[in-house]
């Protein structure tokens, strides 16, 4: 009955949602459609906003609400809309062409999750009295980060790389929120600003790459080498 005020339940809820974040991340690795990828990212961001909101609620840290709201607004709504319009405007193939094929990619993602748990375990010291919240979510956050990084390497198109970068950033946000119960607001704002600017700049850059190379394939940037 008193679930709304039970911090233990809050921890479990957050851990569950974090697990879904990871599931969405791996789904993105497996999903070949670009538009679908963007929607998965939007869902992941919304989930992340919900995580931040729950942490704010159960730990009575109202300033995290601002971070949660901005996550939902920016990464859950604004950035996906911008990216989808970009896909329409520059009329690229709606298919992601990964370098490593999809089954192998998913296996690698699994391996990276293992590595992340290995790393995350080493930060877990229950005897020091740390909350259990950091335990699983940190590992999840590191997995999201590593898988995001792997996606960035694995994809040829600049747009899908931007998407990977954004999921990578989601991993960082998850780690920061879970471990510290919210960084100072100014840092959060800085990070959001960074993401926004990065998307804008990369959007412009993509036009340029397309103009110069008539393709979105960043492998062709190799031609720039002197």
């Amino acid at each position: 009955m008193n679930l709304l005020h039970n911090p233990e339940f809050g921890d479990k809820l957050v851990t569950l949602m974090a697990a879904f974040v990871l599931v969405l991340q791996i789904a993105m690795v497996g999903q070949r459609s670009l538009v679908m990828n963007i929607r998965l990212f939007a869902a992941q961001s919304l989930l992340l906003g919900a995580i931040a909101g729950s942490i704010a609620w159960y730990n009575h840290a109202p300033h995290i609400f601002i971070a949660a709201g901005m996550t939902v607004l920016l990464k859950g709504i604004l950035v996906p809309i911008v990216l989808e319009r970009l896909v329409d405007r520059i009329d690229i193939h709606h298919e992601i062409a990964p370098i490593v094929n999809t089954p192998l990619s998913i296996i690698i993602s699994g391996a990276l999750t293992l590595v992340a748990y290995l790393v995350g375990e080493s930060f877990y010291h229950p005897e020091a009295g740390a909350g259990s919240l950091g335990h699983n979510t940190l590992s999840v956050a590191i997995s999201v980060f590593l898988i995001g990084f792997f996606m960035m390497i694995n994809r040829r198109k600049a747009l899908s790389q931007v998407l990977a970068l954004l999921t990578l950033e989601n991993g960082i946000f998850l780690a920061a929120t879970c471990l510290t119960y919210g960084m100072p607001l100014i840092v959060e704002l800085g990070v959001f600003f960074d993401v926004l600017v990065a998307v804008l700049v990369l959007g412009i850059l993509m036009y340029r790459i397309r103009e110069s190379f008539e393709s979105m394939d960043v492998s062709k940037l190799r031609r720039l080498r002197g």
């Binding site: 370098i99 590595v115 290995l118 790393v119 375990e121 080493s122 590191i142 590593l146 990084f149 792997f150 960035m152 390497i153 040829r156 790389q161 960043v218 492998s219 940037l221 190799r222 031609r223 720039l224 080498r225």
Partner: protein, 676 residues
């Protein structure tokens, strides 16, 4: 004093803004930038004099806005002395620039020149007062970049761009060495603050001491232009506008000397004896090779640039002797040697900038830097010629001007080394003294050439014949420095006490009272059986002796008969400028004596119609081999290119590869962190 100092810095900043604001209004940019620079320089002079008079250390911190670092300013006797040198030069050069830069109006971007000129002055001031390693390196790099921008000012010429690039590359290599040196010291002392570096280097293990010494000596040696790290200097100094050359040779290379003084005497308690001998040896080598290469130059500004290398060598001889004396435990003699080095720093700054400004005036009115196209300039440009002559006498180390005093003190220090007990110094010091004497003699020969070929006899070209005197502001700037040469020569006994706070700060002795012990007009070297000299006395004798022929004429000659006849022309009718002694001809004996060094190559082609005894035209070409470039830098560059070529396979140019590098490094670090 801190107020004056800060006001000076603000004036420089205002000058930079005035320059950049006036990019479209050259006249306003010129007057604004150089007026602010002049005001800033005068404020800094007053602040520096105040600091020297007050003594001790004044330190304060500007808010940095960057965590872990602070803009710590520390004004002590040494930095005040270098700031005084900078202020004097900056004032004179700024006055000179009003007229000099005016001729560029409409042709060049004066706003940019004025902006970087002020930034250079600002960063130089900060280099001398930076109180921690971080601030020092920031100021050092800003200085290098501003100097690069000014050197590359006439960037439409490929040669200028190449010189600027060479300067930038060598400067950065030097900064890299400095950075490592500072980091070693910072690890030992636990802070980046210069105050904690005091004698910190001597607490290190012996091999680290050696490493720190070499890193700083090479790092600062690049900026100072010590042979064999000098190759950028004769390229970069001549290609910039002459007011910039004056600053480059006068004070920018002295930042290397400042750094060495800081490291060798403040960071080290007493550096190892081999270090002193190394500095002494490098000094002798730089002095000798600098003057020998200068002798072969016909480009007036390149000649002066090589002389900068020579004079840096003379300064280092003083420093090296001071280090050896300290290592052997003769603080009083170390004081004399250190004063010699520091005094020569100021003197060289003044007479070298004077000479560069003189060369600039000549270039201004004849449009050439090649001495073979000058000649006879003393008639149209008497003031420039007189100023250049004063500078030439000073740099040749002739009494009674300032160059003589500091070189004499250097000799005295070297001779005093003969009296010390160690066999090694008993051998090395006299040899160094003899080579220094050779250097001074060659320098005198070189300036006989420079002055004689450029200013005397008949004009060698149309441009030289139509030369005109430089405008008033340029003459004022040169006159200011020429007066400085005379004052620092004649007033040496009154100036020497200025060094007391510096030597006390660096090596804990006050040496000037021993030097001025004789009486108010004479300097006597502090050692037993040392010499005594009076520049005032020499000057008085010079005046009297030159009055003597007039006296003879008054007594005996007035009644005599006067005969006027033509110059002996070997029977060829009509002497023209073609019959004059050329600079190449003048330096021929030296080219032959030192041919082992120069490896001269010459080519003579004679054209004739009837018989080779009646040539119609002779083409003569002569050049010397640039040994350091050919034997040291060319192989080094080739090796660098080869290594860079191998490194390129890593630089695949593929974003995926770069990302993969980062990813693998990240994973490896994470796993390493988990295991550890």
């Amino acid at each position: 004093m801190t107020v004056l100092f800060t006001a000076g810095l603000i004036a420089y900043l205002a000058g930079a803004v005035a320059g950049i604001a006036g990019v479209r209004a050259p006249r306003r940019a010129r007057i604004g930038a150089f007026s602010f620079a002049l005001v800033g320089a005068l404020l800094e002079i007053v602040a520096a004099i105040g600091a020297l008079a007050q003594g001790g250390v004044t330190a304060w911190t500007l808010p940095s806005g960057v965590p872990l670092f602070s803009w710590a300013i520390r004004v002590n006797a040494l930095s005040a002395y270098f700031n005084l040198t900078l202020g004097i030069l900056a004032a004179a050069v700024s006055i000179y620039s009003f007229g000099y830069v005016r001729a560029m109006e409409g042709r060049r971007n004066i706003g940019v020149l004025g902006c970087f000129y002020n930034i250079l002055l600002l960063s130089l001031t900060l280099v001398f007062v930076a109180g921690n390693a971080f601030f020092f390196l920031v100021a050092w790099e800003v200085m290098a970049l501003a100097a690069w921008a000014l050197v590359s000012f006439e960037h439409e010429k490929a040669r200028t761009r190449r010189a600027g690039m060479l300067f930038l590359i060598m400067s950065h290599a030097g900064s890299g060495l400095l950075l490592v040196g500072f980091l070693i010291l910072a690890r030992a002392s636990g802070s980046l603050d210069f105050a904690t570096f005091h004698h910190a280097a001597s607490a290190l293990p012996a091999w680290q001491q050696g490493a720190v010494f070499l890193l700083f000596f090479l790092g600062f040696g690049v900026k100072a232009g010590v042979v064999p790290l000098h190759v950028w200097l004769p390229e970069a100094h001549p290609v910039s506008p002459s007011n910039i050359s004056a600053l480059m040779s006068g004070i920018v290379i002295k930042t290397g000397i400042y750094g060495m003084a800081l490291v060798f005497f403040d960071f080290f308690d007493a550096p190892p004896a081999w270090a002193g001998i190394l500095v002494l040896g490098a000094g002798v080598l730089s002095a000798l090779l600098g003057v020998l290469y200068a002798l072969m130059e016909h480009d007036l500004k390149r000649l002066l640039a090589y002389h900068s290398i020579e004079n840096i060598g003379i300064i280092l001889i003083g420093f090296g002797a001071a280090m050896v004396f300290r290592a052997l435990g003769h603080p009083a003699m170390a004081g004399v040697a250190l004063i010699a080095g520091l005094y020569h720093t100021l003197n060289h700054a003044i007479f070298k900038s004077l000479l560069f400004l003189g060369a600039g005036s000549v270039h201004y009115s004849t449009g050439t830097r090649n001495m073979e196209e000058m000649g006879g300039l003393i008639r149209p440009m008497p003031v420039t010629a007189l100023c250049f002559l004063i500078g030439a006498v000073a740099i040749s180390g002739l009494p009674p001007l300032n160059g003589f005093v500091s070189e004499w003190l250097t000799y005295q220090a070297l001779l005093a080394g003969f009296g010390s007990t160690q066999t090694l110094t008993r051998v090395i010091f006299p040899i160094a003294g003899a080579l220094l004497a050779l250097t001074a003699a060659l320098a005198a020969a070189c300036f006989v050439k420079a002055f004689g070929i450029s200013f005397l006899a008949l004009p060698r070209s149309e441009n030289a014949a139509q030369a005109h005197e430089a405008p008033l502001s340029m003459r004022l700037g040169m006159g200011f420095l020429a007066a400085g040469c005379v004052a620092l020569g004649l007033g040496a006994t009154w100036f020497l006490p200025v060094f007391d706070p510096i030597t006390e700060q660096l090596i804990g002795v006050r040496a000037s009272s021993a030097l001025t012990a004789a009486n108010g007009f004479a300097i006597s070297a502090g050692a037993p059986h040392a010499g005594t000299v009076s520049t005032v006395g020499i000057a008085a004798m010079l005046v009297l002796l030159s009055a003597l022929p007039a006296l003879f004429w008054l007594v005996w000659g007035r009644a005599g008969r006067r005969a006027t006849g033509p110059t002996w022309d070997c029977g060829l009718p009509g002497l023209t400028a073609d019959n004059e002694y050329t600079a190449t001809g003048f330096s021929k004996p030296f080219r032959m004596i030192f041919s082992a060094l120069y490896r001269p190559r010459r080519e003579i082609q004679a054209e004739y119609e009837v018989s080779p005894y009646y040539p119609t035209a002779i083409r003569f070409e002569s050049e010397i081999e640039p040994s350091f470039e050919k034997r040291m830098y060319d192989p080094l560059r080739g090796w660098l290119y080869r290594m860079a070529g191998r490194m390129r396979s890593v630089q695949a140019g593929s974003i995926h590869a770069y990302l993969a590098y980062i990813f693998v490094a990240l994973l490896a670090l994470l796993l390493f962190g988990v295991r550890g």
